[in-house]
């Protein structure tokens, strides 16, 4: 709306027909595309009209009335040749009969087109809002899924066969074409200070690729979400080693956990 603020004062001057030069050209250009400003212009003209309407004075001389009617009659009589002014193509029939004091449908309604433009604009805005709303909803869904995995307050349940102690377990969810990786671990043994686990993507060929450094929480759980990965790497397996806190660029043996694709 700041653009309209800029025009607000010029609109007032324009309404009084006193805006000149470049300012005027700029405003006219803007008005051609802005129904809101055109509406404001009409209102400003109305405000100005109040000034005009407030003028009081003597009535016009009596002769003026007849003079007018005579001139009108003459014009009607001369009508095929009376086309001197730059006129719109009004049909040569009697308008005055149709122009009652109530609204007449035969009149060119600029205001109606203004209203239509406004309505069309409003419709467009509504459509965009609906689209934005939809996208927001989808985003919300995605966020919900991510939250279920990564939120610290999420409760985790590891199911193991009865009568066996819980084993360290990790699951890697890898979307190759987007290089998206979500890794979830359970029952990881605690580490000495200054040590961390590191996840590795084992490609079909070449050296293992670092895929995130993590430390388990008090319950032995950990997550790694979307670490930076080279695009489109094919993963033969994922593996975990123990490294210094800062992580390493090549794995330090032994491998403590590993898994191939299901």
């Amino acid at each position: 709306m700041s653009q309209h603020e800029q025009f607000a004062e010029d609109l007032a001057l324009y309404a009084l027909n006193t805006l000149q030069g470049e300012d005027r050209a700029t405003l006219e250009k803007h008005l051609a595309t802005c129904p809101e400003c055109r509406l404001e212009l009409a209102q400003l003209r109305g405000d100005g009209a109040l000034l005009a309407l407030s003028t009081m004075g003597p009535k016009p001389p009596a002769r003026a009335r007849q003079r007018l009617l005579d001139a009108a009659a003459k014009q009607a009589a001369d009508s095929p040749r009376a086309q001197q002014t730059r006129e719109s193509a009004s049909p040569r029939r009697s308008w005055w009969g149709a122009l009652g004091w109530a609204a007449t449908a035969a009149v060119i309604v600029f205001a109606a087109s203004l209203w239509k433009e406004n309505a069309a604009l409003r419709q467009e805005v509504m459509t965009w809002r609906a689209l934005a709303g939809q996208q927001t909803l989808e985003l919300e869904n995605v966020r919900n899924v991510a939250r279920a995995i990564t939120d610290p307050s999420v409760e985790r349940f590891t199911l193991v066969a009865m009568k066996t102690p819980p084993q360290p377990q990790g699951k890697a969810f890898y979307l190759r074409n987007r290089s998206n990786l979500v890794f979830v671990a359970n029952n990881m043994p605690p580490l000495p200070p200054q040590k961390a686990y590191e996840l590795w993507l084992i490609p079909a060929q070449g050296a293992p690729i670092p895929a995130g450094v993590f430390k388990p929480d008090a319950h032995g759980s950990a997550t790694v979400v979307n670490p930076p990965l080279p695009a489109g790497m094919e993963a033969k397996a994922f593996a975990i080693t123990v490294e210094n806190e800062a992580g390493a660029t090549t794995p330090t043996m032994p491998i403590v956990m590993m898994g191939t694709g299901e």
Binding site: A8, E9, D10, L11, A12, L13, A15, L16, N17, T18, L19, Q20, R38, L39, L41, A42, Q43, R45, G46, D47, G48, A49, L50, L51, A52, L53, S54, T55, M56, G57, P58, K59, P60, A64, R65, R67, L68, L69, A72, A73, Q75, A76, A82, T85, R86, E87, S88, S90, S94, W96, G97, L99, A102, A103, V107, I108, V109, F110, A111, A112
Partner: protein
Amino acid sequence: MKSGDQSALAELYDRYSSVVYAVALRVLGDTGAAEDILQEVFLQLWRNPGAFDSARGSLGAWLAVITRNRAIDSLRRRKPETDIEDVIVSVAPDLAAAADRSRAAEKVRGVLGSMPTAQRSALEMAYFEGMSHSEIATKTGEPLGTIKTRIRAGLMSLRKAFAVAGGSSG
């Protein structure tokens, strides 16, 4: 030529001629010139009645605006700048009846009276003398921006005063 036409024109004249004449006279200060404007405005309306959209705003207000513009053009010896068709005026009260008009006139005078003097004079210079904001600035020695602001503020005060009265089409 149909007699019905003439009587419609006559009726319009009877209703609105005093508004038109008063505005023209205020601007031009000359009865002969004011009368010419009076003729011109009604003849033009009669030639081109499609120019006025009665669904929005009042004929009286529209005529007042057209008259003022024509009179200013004449005063400043300019060619008419705006096509009569292009002028859309949004004002609710019709003020065709003299009583309504004198009440409105009083109200406007009240608003003008309570305006800061500088604001009122800028507004009147712009409205009744057709002075541009740069001309007003030169005349008053005030900055351009100040004059622009005053003119707009003046119009807004009028709008507010009449909006409160109710019936503003907004």
